[in-house]
């Protein structure tokens, strides 16, 4: 049975529908990520789980208990805020001890627990510093220790790496992932960074305009996107217009088609395309619009007469020069089985 279940959560602010029947189930001990652009409702969904937002409809179930109507202070849900929301008037130890003091725990007990929590995030040396005197990474660790010291059933993290610079972000992502793995706490991250989602999570929920478009393991979402939106949000993708006829794609007969004849979209990753110099055969024909050599590979933009150019990433041999702009080429999928056919017709290509 799933540890966290969100069932048909709906929320509107005024006339704006922020969450539209969001359903999500997260297994115990796994890390899930809500991924989407800003304004897609991912933070609102997380806040509904923590109790900061009252959903208009739907249920929030944690550990088999319906907590939809429970106020935030009665939920066993840890929350790490986007810029950590550390209490500036309390030092590091005071911040971590806050939840324990609220629970009127004994002095000695609080002290040992705080020390253990600070050890966990290797901040014992900073116990009597005020948050303003800490670096972004240290603040993040205090925020995590403050949540984890209460041994919550669930840990929620709202863009926890946003406030960190790029270099620190990567190492903190790995650190945090290890820490969560060690503690085995069911976690949900919110992020707009697909790279972060791939690194951190066992499951990714791609959100768009208040809806969850697809929920699954990150590689499955990458390999088998269910919509053109998901395809282009996770990694780079060409979403191409194609015609299906007799169970085949007209342009590339190697791609099988389950749906009936008609307009479809084909999702092809740039690295899954090879370029041929205008020999007759299957594929998409066009002219090189732009080539950017990147050492081990060359990225081409091919003008195929659609709104968006076709992106092709081909490996480069030593000494090989990129094709000149204007050269006529034909782009063919390397592995037709890796192409995804979507029943919806693409807007542009």
């Amino acid at each position: 049975m799933s540890h966290i279940r969100l069932e048909d959560i709906e929320k509107s602010f005024g006339s704006v529908r922020v969450l539209d029947r969001c359903t999500l189930a997260v297994e115990k001990g796994t890390v899930a990520t809500l991924l989407g652009p800003s304004g897609c409702g991912k933070t609102t969904l997380l806040r509904a789980l923590a109790g900061f937002v009252d959903p208009d409809a739907g249920r929030v179930v944690v550990g088999g208990k319906d907590i939809t109507d429970l106020p935030p202070n009665r939920r066993q849900v840890g929350y790490v805020f986007q810029s950590y929301a550390l209490f500036p008037h309390l030092d590091v130890a005071g911040n971590v001890a806050y939840g324990l003091k609220v629970r009127r725990m004994g002095r000695a007990e609080i002290e040992t627990r705080v020390r253990r929590a600070l050890d966990l995030v290797s901040l014992s040396a900073f116990a009597d510093r005020y948050p303003a005197r800490l670096s972004g990474g240290q603040q993040q660790r205090v925020a995590i220790a403050r949540a984890m010291v209460l041994e919550p059933e669930v840990l929620l993290l709202d863009e926890p790496f946003n406030a960190l610079d790029a270099q620190l972000r990567l190492s903190m992502q790995v650190e945090l992932r290890k820490l969560i793995g060690r503690l085995g706490v069911t976690s949900i991250f919110v992020t707009h960074d697909q790279q972060e989602a791939m690194t951190l999570s066992d499951r990714v929920a791609v959100m768009r305009a208040g809806r969850i478009e697809q929920f699954g393991p990150p590689l499955e979402i990458y390999d088998r996107p269910r919509t053109a939106y998901v395809a282009s949000f996770i990694g780079r993708a060409n979403v191409l217009r194609a015609r299906g006829r007799g169970g085949r794609i007209e342009q590339v007969p190697e791609i099988a088609l389950q749906s009936p004849d008609g307009d479809v979209s084909v999702v092809v990753r740039p690295e899954n395309l090879a370029l041929w110099d205008d020999a007759p055969g299957p594929g998409w024909r066009g002219r090189v619009a732009f080539a950017s050599p990147q050492g081990a590979q060359i990225e081409y933009e091919i003008d195929i007469g659609a709104a968006d150019p076709l992106r092709v990433l081909v490996p480069r041999k030593v000494g090989e020069a990129p094709r000149a702009a204007g050269a006529a080429v034909r782009a063919v999928p390397v592995d037709p089985a890796a192409c995804v056919v979507l029943a919806e017709a693409a807007d542009g290509g």
Partner: protein, 301 residues
């Protein structure tokens, strides 16, 4: 990095035109010096020279007047009353101001504007007028308060309200309320509400969050307000005179009477010196206490 930065050599004129250093403050400083510091120093100086038939006797400097005043039991009694009236009214304003400021911070749009107008508009009338208004409300048998209480049957004899410590305290508290509300307004309205969410998330109730997060975070504003209200209450002579009655004196009232009524400028100046310096000391103490309680604030600055 600093070593690589090109060195700017700026002439004095450029510094003035670009508003660097203390130059932008110079007009205000000159104004304050000419119209505040000089006259005040002149007035206070009267306490330290010998005046003979309305003329300052040259080359005399004496601490004798100050010494006499400091050995005067009455001066210490007046100072004590000034102190506790100011201290109590500062605390009263705090307890009255906090809910108003909180209401302002929690309200939106028109309501917020209404609260602000209600807070600021008393400042548009003079303190004298407001003190008179309290005279009408509290005053004698015919006072509004007594009449209401009698007609409601709460009391059968009119209460003696006017010319008591309570009348002075009530007047001071009401008149100086905006000085406490305004610093609190700014801090409570601008506060980071995620801290309260964090507190709730960590298991604190709404009330617990208020006392553990909201109040401590507003400590700098609380003490700014306390210092302001204390200073204006400690030196106020209109309210004690009007609401305390003719026999009610504080140090500030005594300064006024010595200077304007008795025309003993020497004693007036000496008492004013004592009033000013003790006021300064008390305000510094309040500020120091506030800084001590809000040490975290220095870390943030």
């Amino acid at each position: 990095m600093a070593a690589d930065a090109p060195k700017h050599r700026t002439s004095g004129w450029r510094r003035i035109l670009h508003g660097r250093g203390i130059w932008p403050a110079v007009p205000a400083l000159v104004f304050l010096f000419v119209f505040l510091v000089l006259p005040m120093a002149t007035l206070l100086a009267f306490g330290f020279v010998t005046i003979d038939r309305g003329r300052v006797v040259d080359g005399t400097f004496t601490l004798e007047n100050l010494w006499k005043a400091l050995n005067d039991d009455l001066v210490w009694r007046l100072m004590w009353r000034s102190f506790w009236v100011a201290a109590l009214s500062s605390v009263f304003t705090l307890f009255l101001a906090y809910p108003v400021a909180y209401l302002f911070a929690e309200s939106r749009g028109l309501w917020r504007a209404l609260v602000l107008v209600a807070v600021v508009s008393p400042l548009l009338t003079s303190a004298l007028v407001r003190a008179y208004a309290w005279l009408v409300i509290l005053g004698g048998r015919r006072g509004i308060l007594n009449q209401t209480l009698i007609s409601l049957g709460v009391v059968d004899q009119p209460l003696r309200l006017l010319n008591t410590d309570w009348a002075v305290l009530i007047g001071m508290t009401q008149i100086h309320l905006p000085f406490m509300i305004l610093p609190l307004l700014a801090v409570l309205a601008e506060r980071d509400r995620r801290l309260e969410e964090a507190s709730l998330n960590l298991g604190a109730s709404r009330t617990g969050t208020f006392f553990r997060v909201v109040v401590p975070m507003s400590v700098p504003a609380i003490f700014a307000g306390l210092a302001l209200v204390f200073a204006v209450s400690y030196t106020n002579f209109i309210v004690p005179q009007l609401l305390g009655g003719g026999a009610y004196a504080t140090l500030a009232v005594q300064v006024y009477e010595q200077t304007i009524v008795v025309l003993d400028w020497t004693r007036g100046a000496v008492l004013a010196t004592i009033l000013l310096s003790t006021c300064f000391a008390f305000v510094l103490a309040i500020v120091a206490a506030g800084n001590r309680l809000a040490r975290w604030n220095e870390a943030a600055a």
